[in-house]
């Protein structure tokens, strides 16, 4: 399945890219026209989903809450077969949730508490290019409960 990059965090310490399946990106449910439609009332619900998602993947201490939220339009060009290339430009909206904990997490990085989604709630897969994300649950182990 083809994937497409919808966000990248590139700092001195680390580089993390966020990918979604291309077919999900192309879905009309991820389009939003600010002058025509109301923004869907999803921020609070998706914020709770994001916290649950992180709880299953990070060994953080404390309770998480939403720190900031960003919605950004991005655009890629696709040919008539739906592959990346010269053709029709498809604009979609990407949501970026950053959470924070009420307790210190010394090994956390800027990406430890980030969840990237499409407008339809598809959560983007994190791909580490360089550095360490921090507090990751080892593969195959159950998420710890340190709440």
């Amino acid at each position: 399945m083809e994937h497409i990059r919808v966000f990248s965090a590139d700092t001195k310490e680390l580089n993390v890219d966020y990918y979604v399946p291309t077919q999900r990106y192309l879905a009309q449910t991820n389009a939003w026209s600010p002058t025509v439609e109301a923004f869907p009332p999803i921020i609070a619900d998706y914020s709770r989903r994001g916290i649950q998602y992180l709880k299953e993947r990070r060994q953080f201490r404390g309770n998480l809450s939403l720190g900031s939220f960003d919605a950004a339009s991005i655009m890629y060009s696709f040919d008539s077969q739906g592959n990346r290339g010269i053709g029709t430009q498809v604009e979609r909206w990407v949501l970026n949730f950053t959470f924070s904990s009420d307790q210190p997490n010394p090994d956390a990085t800027s990406e430890t508490f980030r969840v990237v989604m499409l407008l339809d709630g598809t959560i983007a897969e994190q791909r580490l290019i360089r550095g360490t994300i921090g507090l990751a649950v080892p593969p195959g182990s159950a998420p710890p409960s340190k709440q």
């Binding site: 921020i43 609070a44 939220f69 339009s73």
Partner: protein, 98 residues
């Protein structure tokens, strides 16, 4: 105030987008159509106290050039900062000091 753990966001973001766009048209008088490229929400610009103070928006607008496959955009040219109740923040310019 807004508690995202409990409450839906109590505003119509689309109407705020339009309010911000009209504000820019009247204050900046852009010569081309303004398009929204994104918006950011946070509770406090002070990272040491992230969960204090009112939530606010930063709306980002820019110009769109061309249409269809030749469409290009010049994003992030204009910003509007707005409180949750729709109050638009006054913009001030401070010279860079070295």
């Amino acid at each position: 105030m807004w508690n995202p753990a409990k409450d839906q966001l109590p505003v119509d973001i689309g109407s705020y987008v339009e309010k911000g766009r009209k504000h820019l048209i009247s204050t900046k008088k852009p010569d081309k159509e303004l398009k929204l490229f994104g918006f950011w929400m946070s509770q406090n610009p002070d990272r040491k106290r992230p969960h204090e103070g009112p939530w606010y928006f930063v709306f980002r607008y820019g110009h769109q050039v061309g249409h269809g496959i030749s469409r290009r955009t010049l994003p992030d040219r204009y910003f509007v900062v707005m409180l949750l109740d729709g109050t638009i923040a006054r913009e001030t310019t401070t010279p860079i000091t070295r």
